[in-house]
């Protein structure tokens, strides 16, 4: 008999190995929990990696305050049910100084609310390893990201000077103040993530499923009405059957027209999609190569 893992089993085996390496090699790891589908898959993989023991690290959620209510409810329920240790970090200072996407534009807003508060949350917590759900497939600059991505003491990434990464031998050696971002889902695609959600019956935020939602239709973009985005002259919201393909802040997350109300329907829909999932994320397009710029500065 030829033993062969299916693609999901092989991806799972690789991710479990990464989680265990991190837990064994770092003194203060933390899992960046962003509530979305990738985070949900990460949590399940982490649970499996340490089963039957609980997770040996806490979850960190950077709350920009521009999240959907459904996301926060979901977050609290999942943490409660599974007994996860959750740290919520809000960008208090930036918010007090009036940071918001409508006034600052998405690039500046994201810089202040996400990048800066992520860095401060990590340094306040003294975390030496931050586990994130980024996938290489998501965006061009991520294709070159290592599984263990080194960050200097300012949290910055130097794409030209990355450590070579061979086999499954990850080099996690750092000096005080430096840290490693770890990406256990590096080799997963959006389709893999949904197939795994189906195979493992993993709960996800209802926003991923299609229903009639009140949105602003701007060309190809469907903008959710949460947090009252300013209307352009003559514009008014309408009800559209749609779902979120990726979740971020309300203003940066566009919805997609869809009728998929179950996980198998989402999978079927993905097979026919011709647009990438981040297409509707405003931040990726602020400027050509913009995700790479953000990452050099420390964005996840």
């Amino acid at each position: 008999m030829q033993d062969r893992l299916t693609h999901l089993q092989a991806l799972e085996a690789e991710s479990l190995h990464i989680f265990r390496e991190v837990a064994a090699e770092f003194s203060r790891p933390v899992l960046m929990y962003s509530i979305g589908k990738d985070s949900s898959v990460m949590l399940r993989l982490a649970q499996k990696a340490f089963y039957p023991a609980p997770l040996p690290f806490p979850l960190l959620h950077v709350d920009t305050s521009y999240k959907f209510d459904e996301m926060l409810e979901f977050r609290d329920r999942i943490c409660e049910e599974n007994g996860f240790r959750l740290i919520v970090h809000t960008a208090r200072e930036a918010l007090r100084n009036g940071a918001n996407p409508f006034r600052l534009g998405t690039r500046k807003c994201c810089d202040l609310l996400k990048t800066k508060s992520l860095l401060s949350a990590l340094s306040e917590g003294g975390f030496d390893a931050a586990i994130g759900g980024a996938r290489r497939e998501e965006e061009k600059s991520r294709a070159k990201e290592r599984v263990y991505s080194f960050r200097d003491s300012l949290g910055q990434w130097d794409p030209k000077n990355q450590r070579p990464e061979l086999w499954n031998l990850y080099n996690g050696r750092i000096e005080k103040g430096e840290s490693i971002r770890v990406f256990p889902l590096s080799n997963w695609t959006e389709l893999d993530v949904w197939q795994y959600i189906e195979a493992e019956s993993i709960p996800v935020v209802p926003l991923y499923f299609a229903k009639e939602r009140e949105v602003l239709v701007r060309g190809e973009t469907l903008l959710p009405m949460e947090h009252n985005p300013p209307l352009l002259p003559g514009e008014h919201p309408s009800m559209v059957m749609c779902r979120m393909r990726s979740l971020g802040c309300t203003y940066c997350t566009g919805a997609t027209r869809s009728t998929a109300t179950t996980v198998p329907e989402i999978i079927a829909e993905l097979r026919t999609f011709r647009r990438s999932e981040r297409e509707n994320r405003a931040i990726d397009h602020d400027q050509e190569g913009s995700m790479e710029l953000k990452k050099r500065e420390g964005y996840f």
């Binding site: 693609h7 265990r20 499996k48 340490f50 497939e137 070159k144 070579p164 080099n171 080799n187 647009r275």
Partner: protein, 594 residues
């Protein structure tokens, strides 16, 4: 419909059309979305350049070259593909090795107009050295060669002359035009003389060699999972299979134990598991094992040793220095090591082994390495997972080399030429079981070793397995054990070695006796409250002591006499490991200066 994964790496010289080919493969298989194509079109000069779909970084787009390994994904009905797209530039050979390390197949590109270049040979050779069982040579730009069979045949013949020397490599050839899309996803009408599969058909159906299942069982422990009374050993199976009831050899202790179960969260347990699954192994008996230890097939264990020959790909701007300290990361072990000699350097175009004094960036050589603790390994050619290692420079923390173990080296153990004229010192780590003595002394060892000092660890548990095998745990026996360790430490200290003793050594009187005898003596009190040690219970001994299974256990049923005025005290429950290490080293520095 179940899919499996094929991982392949792509290599080619600059401008052979690799980015075009990859961009195109992704596009044809639906691995690129329309908006990504549109973004690439925006930056393309005239017509859409598929290369821009794959070249991710700004610097690449500015310079028009690919500078780092990029990973790409696409899937067909039968397979998911992971492409490690590696740069063709010579100075980025290390990236080629990186991409090849996890690949099942190497796709090497040849420009039909240029034929087989030295660089092409280099790629094939690296792929072969890194143990990729199969190479697919894609002869590109056939459009410029008038789609002629002769061109293809002569390139193929050229290539085979060279690859005949790559023992065991399976090599296939496909003629294509990446630009025109000929022979990529369907047979080309322009090349009716070619009867083989198109590139995608080939990738879809090529058998993936899974040698690992039939190899003897190996699992390196990554992490000990503990909760309540449960204790399991987590790791990724490197080779072979395992099921409940199997007997395993535990290294380095040499004990044997049976698998009680393989707990798994979703299904409850695995009945049977095989490489490369990540599992948790529960044993039916308590054994003392931790990260870095290995479970192996008792009838067919790995080689255990500290000295071996290996092929080494050098990846750093700073040349390899014989005799300098490095760290070896092998399976889940990280140990101090040094390269004791360079045997030869490989001329990659002729495959000859030339004598060499040093290895520079992108050189590939054969070296002898000596590690400070034994590794449990198999030859890389038989088992990639237990034969591979990386070298880390302990000063810069960079990964500087990638190694593939070939064989044990029996060469007479010459003493490494380190630190002549160093004065000796005994650093004595005392404290309760699980207080952190071993961890701390290991970390101090690494730091001292990195400065080029001669250092030796004497571990209490280890000594009890050899020198003090005859002793038990009565007060007399414990004192005798400590005196023996002290005797060895004294000899080493007089010979200029820094000795790191890590032993519970519960009794004050005998520690003080040794302080006087050795003279150059630093006492480090590794202090954590009993409750903390018991909570950590690294070896599961407290549990046994509490249940009465173990008698006269220090801290529980036998006294521990804390040092009254230790030179250094480390509170391992309050300080980080680094803080503790710094404290010890500060003291050692003062000592060595005076």
């Amino acid at each position: 419909m179940e899919r499996d994964i094929l991982r392949f790496t792509t290599a080619g010289s600059v401008d052979d059309g690799k980015s075009t080919l990859v961009g195109r493969l992704l596009h044809e298989a639906g691995g690129v979305y329309d908006d990504q194509i549109e973004a690439a079109r925006r930056v393309s000069r005239d017509s859409l350049e598929f290369a821009f779909v794959t070249d991710g970084l700004r610097a690449e787009r500015e310079q028009g070259i690919t500078i780092d390994v990029g990973y790409r994904y696409f899937a067909t009905q039968r397979r998911k593909f992971i492409i490690a797209d590696t740069p063709g530039h010579e100075q980025y050979t290390r990236n080629m090795a990186t991409g090849a390390s996890t690949a099942d197949l190497a796709l090497v590109l040849v420009d039909a107009g240029k034929g087989v270049l030295p660089q092409t040979r280099r790629h094939a050779c690296i792929a072969w050295l890194l143990g990729i069982p199969r190479i697919l040579v894609v002869v590109n730009k056939m459009d410029l060669a008038g789609y002629r069979k002769e061109t293809f045949d002569s390139i193929r013949a050229d290539f085979e002359v060279f690859t005949g020397k790559l023992k065991g490599a399976a090599i296939d050839f496909i003629p294509v035009s990446a630009l025109a899309g000929e022979n990529l996803s369907s047979p080309s009408s322009r090349m009716p003389w070619y009867r083989g599969p198109s590139v995608i058909e080939y990738l879809d159906t090529v058998p993936i060699q899974t040698v690992r299942g039939d190899l003897p069982f190996r699992l390196s422990i990554q992490y000990v999972v503990r909760t309540g009374d449960f204790r399991g050993y987590a790791g990724q199976i490197a080779s072979g299979t395992v099921r409940a009831g199997d007997e395993l050899l535990v290294l380095p202790s040499g004990r044997r134990a049976r698998v009680a179960s393989l707990p798994e969260r979703t299904t409850g347990r695995h009945e049977r598991a095989f490489a490369p699954m990540s599992v948790c192994v529960e044993l039916d008996d308590h054994v003392d094992a931790g990260r870095g230890d290995m479970f192996a097939d008792p009838a067919n264990g790995p080689t255990v040793g500290r000295r071996f020959r290996s092929v080494l790909v050098w990846m750093s701007e700073t040349p390899l220095a014989v005799g300098s300290p490095y760290l070896v990361k092998h399976t889940t072990q990280q140990v101090c090591a040094e390269v004791v000699g360079i045997v030869s350097k490989l001329d990659i175009t002729t495959l000859e082994n030339d004598p060499a004094e040093e290895l520079k960036l992108n050189d590939i050589g054969r070296v002898v390495i000596e590690t400070h603790r034994p590794l449990f390994w198999d030859p890389y050619s038989a088992n990639r997972a237990t034969g591979a290692f990386i070298l880390i420079d302990p000063m810069t923390n960079l990964t500087v080399g990638a190694g593939m173990i070939e064989s044990a080296d029996s060469g007479c153990e010459q003493a490494p030429a380190r630190a002549v004229g160093q004065t000796g010192l005994t650093i004595w780590f005392t404290g309760l079981s699980s207080a952190g003595k071993t961890t701390l002394s290991q970390a101090v060892f690494e730091r001292l070793w990195a400065t080029g000092a001669r250092v030796q660890i004497l571990d209490g548990d280890e000594v009890r397995r050899h020198l003090s095998k005859d002793l038990g745990f009565s007060k007399e026996d414990r004192d005798e054990n400590i005196r023996r360790i002290g005797f060895v430490a004294e000899l080493l200290t007089r010979n200029g070695v820094i000795v790191l003793v890590s032993a519970i050594s519960p009794y004050r009187t005998v520690r003080d006796e040794l302080r006087v005898r050795i003279g150059d003596f630093v006492e480090v009190y590794v202090n954590a409250p009993l409750a903390v040690c018991e909570e950590r219970d690294v070896k599961g001994l407290y549990r046994k002591a509490r249940s009465g299974e173990l008698r006269a256990f220090t801290g529980v049923s036998d006294p521990y006499e804390a040092p009254l005025s230790p030179e250094v005290e480390c509170r391992t429950d309050l300080e980080t490991l680094n803080e503790s290490v710094d404290k010890v080293l500060r003291h050692v520095d003062q000592r060595r200066k005076t």
